[in-house]
């Protein structure tokens, strides 16, 4: 009865929406995902990404819209008949079952014959490298091992779709890096669709083939990691992606996407990311791309307020003449009160309309 992995080509979300009372937690989510794709739903907390995941899993009923796997409509099926795999944020392992029983639970519920189930469980245990832990209870495992059990439990049923709800958020930084590679490897081996929910840009950038940025329950941008990192479509997406500097400016000239803008009387080159109304614009740039040079040529003059050492480089904050706070990179420690000229990389200075 559950949709099988062997046949499908596309998962289609068609206007999926969810209201809580009068609040639209998720609005009109429409998306086609091809077999083999790894899609990240990215956004700050409250953006609707977890709601979307729960709607797809069937743990939350949708208010409107439909979900199709090829031609089969899924949103009308109860959770247990959708046949997906899911990795929960806090693992949600069955605390009274051994690792082996946890992983085998889905197969048992699907009525797979015992011998076949045991073989598939062993294969899954091997895939996530948990051989010596198979007889233990989840409470006896470390966080990273529990995470592996949760992943094995999700993939052993060979689901057409694996859902992951911030699976790495409870791990420490080192383990998080290792598990990212593990997840990528397992996704590649399985060949199904993975939908990965996270609020961490690094995770989304490093894992996904395609990133869907959500905000207030709506899609703001869909694109590859490179698109998102270098060319955010809106100012809010840019801020979320680390464009910490937000510089009010006046539009001078525009030809195609290349624009010249005036910041406190200094002329800067940048790239327009949308159409403008009027000539008030906002320039966005990462602190990494705003550099305190040794000459004053072509830089934005600003007074240094604080500096900090980050290993290789120094980072600082400074204030421009009009009071804008600027975050920049430097090769040495500038004294507070010193005036520096901040030079922006024209290829990385993105310009958005100010009316937004």
């Amino acid at each position: 009865m559950a949709p099988s992995l062997s046949s499908f080509k596309t998962l289609r979300l068609d206007g999926v929406s969810r209201d809580f009372g009068t609040v639209n937690a998720l609005r009109d989510l429409t998306l086609n995902i091809e077999r083999g794709e790894f899609v990240a739903l990215l956004g700050p907390s409250g953006c609707g990404k977890s709601t979307a995941l729960n709607c797809i899993a069937g743990l939350l009923p949708t208010s409107r819209g439909a979900i199709f796997l090829d031609d089969q409509r899924l949103d009308i099926l109860p959770t247990e008949e959708r046949g997906f795999g899911m990795v929960f944020q806090n693992y949600a392992l069955f605390p009274h079952m051994t690792v082996r029983d946890n992983i085998g639970f889905g197969l048992k519920m699907r009525g797979i014959p015992k011998a076949e189930a045991a073989a598939r469980v062993e294969k899954a245990i091997e895939t996530v490298r948990l051989g010596t832990q198979a007889h233990k209870l989840p409470g006896q495992l470390s966080g990273g091992q529990q995470q592996r059990v949760a992943i094995a439990r999700a993939i052993v049923v060979e689901p057409p779709l694996v859902l992951m709800d911030e699976p790495l958020s409870n791990l420490d930084a080192k383990l998080r890096l290792e598990m990212r590679q593990e997840i990528r490897r397992i996704h590649a081996g399985l060949g199904s669709i993975t939908i990965y929910v996270t609020h961490d840009q690094d995770e989304a950038l490093s894992l996904a083939d395609r990133i869907v940025v959500l905000r207030d329950g709506m899609i703001r941008q869909v694109g590859t990691p490179e698109d998102l990192y270098a060319r955010p479509a809106h100012l809010d997406v840019a801020e979320f992606m680390g464009f910490r500097n937000r510089i009010p400016a006046k539009l001078k000239t525009r030809s195609g996407d290349a624009v010249a803008i005036d910041v406190n009387g200094v002329l800067l080159q940048g790239i327009a990311r949308e159409e403008f109304k009027g000539d008030d614009v906002i320039a966005a740039i990462r602190p990494d791309d705003l550099f305190a040079g040794e000459t004053n040529e072509g830089g934005i003059p600003a007074v240094v307020e604080a500096m900090e050492y980050r290993g290789r480089d120094f980072f600082g904050s400074a204030r421009a003449k009009d009071g804008t706070e600027l975050f920049f990179r430097a090769s040495r420690r500038h004294a507070p009160g010193e005036t520096v000229a901040l030079i922006a990389d024209p290829a990385r200075l993105l310009v958005y309309g100010a009316a937004q």
């Binding site: 109860p78 008949e81 949600a92 069955f94 889905g106």
Partner: protein, 281 residues
């Protein structure tokens, strides 16, 4: 880790508190030992040790109080109360733990009332109503009266056990193909079992010990051990003190056996302090 090891005053104070506590516990045990000794003594006046030991008071108590019948009736009542409390209390606790609804706090408070209000307060009117409806004096009436405090007790004890189970574990069971019934059998029941056992064993002890409600609603054929013991004490003078002591020991041992079994399954302080430990899952 944080302590000022130099303060003499606070050391003295802590010592005083410990001394009091230990004195208290020793006394409690001394007193219990006195009764046990008395029930085995041939004659025991104001000496440190009785003149001799005998088990005859147990035989006389057995015959005199019809302890055999009494024990059978007691256990019939107790097990009926335990079974019904679990059947009603556990699902009600599940609903209370998992659902939020307006007035939930008030319902919780109302459930607390039969536990906090002394049983006499509602025992007398309850007995009146039971007698009016013809259930007074029957075993069914006694069971019904005992359910009034035990059902809320089971609900309140089970709520933290249930809240402790991550709802996402239930969600996981659903995602991996378990319907409501199989989720209950394979996931909820095994996880709740220790809590259910603990709360029902405590209900069992409470019901064995429940004097007030049973006293007020029981007839001659539906008396429990504790009520008979009270009658014996109340009518003392007719019977030998040692015979009553023997009965008290039977009662004490009966209660303690069940209590020890209960404590094997759950450390009740955990119910309060459980949340300080990191949950394993």
């Amino acid at each position: 880790m944080v302590s000022n090891e130099k303060s003499v005053g606070s050391r003295l104070w802590i010592f005083a508190v410990w001394a009091t506590t230990i004195f208290f516990i020793i006394n409690l045990f001394g007193i219990i030992a006195a009764v046990v000794t008395s029930s085995f003594a041939t004659r025991w006046l104001r000496a440190w040790f009785p003149d001799g030991f005998t088990t005859k008071w147990y035989f006389s108590a057995w015959a005199e109080f019809q302890l055999g019948d009494l024990l059978i009736v007691t256990f019939q009542i107790v097990f009926a109360v335990v079974f019904l409390s679990g059947l009603i209390g556990v699902p009600a606790a599940y609903a209370m733990a998992r659902r939020n609804f307006p007035g939930k706090q008030i319902v919780l408070l109302l459930l607390l009332l039969p536990l906090l209000v002394p049983p006499v307060t509602f025992g007398i009117p309850l007995a009146t109503v039971l007698y009016k409806s013809g259930l007074g004096g029957t075993m069914f009436g006694v069971i019904l009266a005992n359910l009034v405090p035990t059902v809320p007790f089971v609900i309140l004890v089970m709520i933290p056990f249930i809240e402790q189970i991550d709802p996402r574990v239930e969600a996981a069971a659903r995602v991996f193909g378990a319907g409501t019934f199989r989720m209950f059998i394979h996931v909820l029941l095994p996880l709740l079992l220790p809590g259910v056992l603990a709360s029902l064993l405590l209900v069992l002890v409470r019901t064995i010990a429940m004097f007030e409600l049973t006293f007020l609603t029981a007839g001659p054929t539906s008396q429990t051990l504790v009520v008979a013991l009270y009658y014996a004490v109340f009518a003392a003078g007719v019977r030998a003190v040692q015979s009553i002591d023997a009965m008290a020991v039977v009662y004490m041992v009966t209660t303690l056996i069940w209590l020890v079994i209960a404590l094997r399954f759950v450390n009740p302080t955990q119910m309060v302090t459980r949340a300080k430990q990191q949950p394993a899952h």
